[in-house]
């Protein structure tokens, strides 16, 4: 209800939103599903940002993870498999005032939506893009996804996935005009919150790949990863996200990494031996298509009439 202004005076909000104001229907994900923790983090970030629920829109594709909009009490659009990003781009183009979240899975974003992934990164409209990467097709019951580890048995590759998995970070960092790239895991709540929060604050498309547990289909793999923090590399820097020492101590591998350094970001992403966690890349000044296309709208009446006449004169007879 109260906040402190820069001059230390009390700022009384007319409306104060609690996490409940962003929480929609009861989630129907499996017990232990990583999606639950991500949802909570999103609710927290919304609450802390105090963006009005009516000005918040959650957009998704199809998949377990894409149920997220139903679990929000904001506006929401649950569209087609793979097509969350173009819907979000359409909304943002005409309504730059709205705060837009995009929830998408590894199949949704990297496979069927692969084209939109690449191009939306380049458009760099102001969207918070969360990829719930469980390395599997959850909703359709255990088919190989682009990020399924090689050799992992699925219903479509019964002797194990044939190819090395796609590296979403190197692909993302290869797209021109990309502006925010981060990675985290769903089971470290403080880090998850900080990264989603930083992504939300960034103006532009903030790409957050969340390594997400699917106890239904990937239990053993997820457990091994969770039990072995030595497979992670925590990225630290003044310009990155700041977490408590206690959180830092959970990881034995740390690296100072300046998120404005693209070459370093690519090198980290390229190295498959460790899973980097933190902000890999951040460019607050990248150009935004949603801003550029809004330039020149709302002309004064006189200019409108001039434009109309000029256009009609082209066909004058």
């Amino acid at each position: 209800m109260f906040g402190l202004k820069a001059d230390w005076s009390l700022d009384v909000h007319e409306r104060y939103f609690t996490m409940d104001d962003y929480a929609g229907a009861e989630p129907r994900w499996c017990t232990g599903c990583g999606d639950l923790g991500i949802l909570t983090a999103v609710h927290r970030v919304c609450r802390d940002a105090q963006v009005e629920p009516e000005n918040t829109v959650a957009v998704s594709g199809i998949g377990c993870s894409s149920r997220l909009p139903h679990y929000m009490k904001t506006y929401g659009f649950h569209g087609l498999h793979g097509r969350a990003l173009p819907v979000a781009c359409g909304i943002k183009s005409r309504r730059p005032d709205l705060d837009i979240w995009v929830a998408t899975g590894d199949g949704d974003c990297f496979s069927i939506g692969g084209g939109h992934w690449i191009h939306s990164l380049r458009y760099n409209m102001d969207l918070t893009l969360l990829i719930f990467d469980n390395g599997i097709y959850g909703l359709t019951k255990k088919q190989t996804s682009p990020t399924t580890p090689q050799g992992f048995h699925t219903n479509t590759h019964v002797t194990g996935a044939l190819l090395p998995p796609l590296n979403p970070l190197t692909v993302t960092l290869g797209v021109s005009n990309v502006s925010f790239v981060a990675q985290t895991v769903d089971w470290n709540a403080p880090l998850l919150y900080e990264i989603i929060n930083a992504a939300h604050q960034h103006k532009g498309t903030s790409f957050v790949r969340i390594v997400q547990r699917c106890p239904m289909y990937m239990e053993q793999l997820n457990q091994e990863m969770q039990d072995d923090p030595s497979r992670m590399l925590l990225l630290t820097h003044d310009k990155g996200v700041q977490v408590d020492d206690a959180v830092v101590r959970m990881f034995e591998n740390h690296q100072e990494h300046d998120p404005s350094d693209m070459a370093a970001a690519r090198a980290i992403a390229q190295d498959d031996s460790l899973i980097p966690l933190g902000v890999l890349y951040h460019d607050p000044d990248a150009q935004r298509y949603d801003e550029l296309t809004n330039v020149g709208l709302n002309m004064p009446m006189q200019e409108r009439v001039q434009g109309l006449n000029a256009a009609l004169d082209k066909f004058a007879i």
């Binding site: 909009p69 183009s93 009609l312």
Partner: protein, 623 residues
């Protein structure tokens, strides 16, 4: 239509009423420019007109190739012009390939104007000629003016110091000058246009103007074949008004903008280039004065999804493509029928399947528009009849989409998109505004709420406090709008969606008979761009005392409520369409009447004569 051949017989008692000219040459010869400039001058002269630009699929085929011939046809005169004409009175050819591919359409005794400079051995071989047709007797049945245009042009533009290549490019303007002389056209507007176009390159402007004037002067002074002289064709009796010369693409663009104004909505026009639909994206890309935003998306799926996003956001999403792109959009169009948001989808049809004949016209996507999506996802489908009608059809699409919260499919085609006609600018105040009412009342709100009359779902736009809601492709409860898999609810929702679209039949005009009587021996029923040839044919047949009527359907779905009864009042019904019989199947299945089809899929519009013949043979079959 009176052909120039009549003048050839020197029958001065019957002045020429109308003339058909076709300009044909290499894609690089600039025939489209010659044609459009001549069209503008013709419109200014006060003639009624119709044009038919016919492009090859290749952008710049090798010079002289038969598959690279680009043509522009115009029919103008004092007649009530309904098509660009069946046969040519004048054929202008810039090379042998243009002659060999177009001669079959020239009337006997018609006039050929040929650039003899381009009839080189090499070009003749490319066109498959063994001997030069300008020099043997093969063209004896025609009147021929052969001029070495290249030589004339080089002479005319010499003072301006252009490169040889740029000099030769003025050939189209020289030819234009000659044709303008022949039909007594005023050159002023073309010259003004050239000065504007080449404002930064005055030498180019001057050279092009000199070329036009030289072509004109050539007509005045040269020895031309007997009987070729300036033709003065009486002006057309067009109603008074302010006219603009528009093609279907431009009229459609204006209609969408007008629809947006009438609905009080900003537009997001999201599309992906594809011939012949792209021109609409071009046309709208420069209209910020109407707050229209265009989005060239990464593909058709992204385009339609962005349009749906814009509609969810409370503005109007519009998307466009041709058949192949509409296929890609299919899944999203069904989604839009499920979430019940407004969306306008424009299909500028082309010859298919697949890449088919991308620059040619066809009406073979009617089945796709009506049935080409997954599930029971019925939606209004409306079709423009003429280039100018595209304006009203687009407005109607916006009205239906916003009033009924539904996607609406607009069918145009390659012919309508490119063909132009004089358009009497409507008085915009005559159009009834239909401003959108967003839902605002939070009391008892659910996203499933409907207008009891139209069955339209409420439109609650993001930013409105208290109306936060989620929609999506999963079936929703008919009362609460929450996800719901109940069998009875799905039945109910399917029934509601169907009833909503069916109900639109009560909100559209009754089907009129455009020409002829309501009831009688024979009805010709058309839809879309076949309007011109059907109308022309029915008019001629009626003038000869035949009992035949023209009915033209614009609402393809739902069909006008009285259509079945109206069609049943004729002994025979004939449906000409540029496909293998799609509308005729719909009519037969909807009304159980024995309608017959007249079908053509050559990539070209019907000729009036083809339909006239069909009328005769249909009437012969009448008892």
């Amino acid at each position: 239509m009176t052909v120039l051949g009549d003048v050839g017989s020197r029958n001065t008692d019957t002045p020429v009423q109308g003339v058909v000219i076709r300009f044909a040459g290499d894609s690089g010869d600039g025939m489209q420019l010659t044609g459009t400039n001549f069209t503008q001058a013709t419109a200014l002269y006060g003639h009624d007109l119709a044009t038919f630009p016919d492009f090859p699929a290749e952008i710049r085929a090798p010079a002289g190739a038969t598959f690279g011939v680009s043509a522009y046809q115009i029919y103008f005169g004092s007649d009530d012009v309904t098509t660009a004409g069946d046969e040519l009175d004048v054929l202008v050819v810039m090379n042998p390939a243009a002659l060999v591919t177009n001669l079959q359409d020239l009337v006997e005794g018609g006039l050929i104007i040929a650039d003899s400079g381009a009839f080189t051995a090499k070009n003749l071989t490319k066109a498959g000629y063994e001997a030069n047709p300008l020099e043997d007797e093969s063209l004896d049945g025609y009147r021929v003016i052969d001029i070495d245009v290249t030589k004339q042009v080089l002479e005319a533009v010499k003072p301006f110091g252009l490169s040889k290549k740029n000099s030769i490019r003025c050939k189209n303007m020289w030819t234009l000058g000659l044709i303008m002389w022949l039909f007594d056209r005023d050159r002023t507007e073309t010259i003004n246009g050239l000065n504007r176009k080449f404002a930064a390159k005055p030498a180019m402007a001057e050279a092009n103007i000199a070329a036009i004037n030289a072509g004109h002067a050539y007509g005045e002074t040269a020895e031309l074949p007997a009987g070729v002289e300036v033709y003065k064709i009486p002006k057309a009796d067009l109603p008074a008004g302010v006219y603009r010369n528009v093609n279907g693409t431009e009229a459609l663009a204006w209609g969408l903008l007008a629809g947006g104004q009438l609905a009080d909505l900003d537009i997001l026009f999201a599309s992906y280039p594809i011939t012949p639909a792209t021109a609409l994206l071009h046309a709208l890309s420069n209209h910020k004065e109407f707050d229209v935003m265009t989005f060239q998306a990464e593909d058709e799926i992204a385009a339609v999804c962005a349009a749906i996003g814009a509609s969810f956001a409370g503005t109007l999403g519009v998307t466009s493509s041709s058949g192949p792109g509409i296929s890609l959009k299919g899944e999203a169009i069904s989604l839009c029928s499920a979430v019940e948001l407004p969306l306008v989808v424009v299909n500028t049809q082309r010859g298919g399947p697949s890449t088919g004949l991308p620059t040619k016209t066809e009406q073979s996507d009617l089945n796709q528009a009506l049935f080409g999506r997954h599930a029971d996802a019925s939606m209004p489908v409306i079709a423009a009849a003429t280039p100018a009608d595209c304006f009203d059809i687009a407005i109607e699409a916006v009205r239906l989409a916003t009033k009924y919260m539904t996607p609406v499919i607009v069918l145009s085609d390659g012919y309508l998109a490119n063909a132009s006609e004089p358009w009497n600018l409507p008085d915009f105040h005559q159009y009834e505004p239909f401003p959108v009412n967003y839902h605002a009342d939070a009391e008892g709100f659910t996203p499933a709420k409907r207008d009891p009359l139209t069955l339209a779902r409420v439109w609650a736009k993001p930013g409105t406090a208290g109306l936060e809601h989620r929609i999506g492709g999963i079936e929703r409860d008919s009362e609460t709008g929450d996800i719901c898999y109940e069998p009875a609810n799905h039945q109910k929702m399917t029934d509601i969606r169907k009833a909503k679209i069916d109900g639109i039949a009560g909100d559209i005009p009754a089907q009129q008979v455009i020409l002829g009587n309501p009831g009688g021996k024979l009805a010709l029923v058309g839809w879309g761009s076949t309007f011109g040839p059907i109308h022309g044919a029915v008019r001629r047949a009626s003038e000869q005392g035949r009992d035949v009527s023209h009915i033209h359907v614009r609402y393809m779905w739902p069909l006008p409520a009285n259509l079945g009864e109206l069609l049943a009042s004729y002994e025979r019904v004939l449906i000409p369409e540029m496909n293998t019989g799609q509308f005729v199947n719909l009519v037969r299945s909807q009304y159980l009447i024995d309608a017959k089809g007249l079908n053509k899929v050559s990539g070209r519009p019907f000729k009036i004569s083809e339909i006239e013949q069909a009328i005769e043979s249909e009437l012969e079959r009448c008892p």
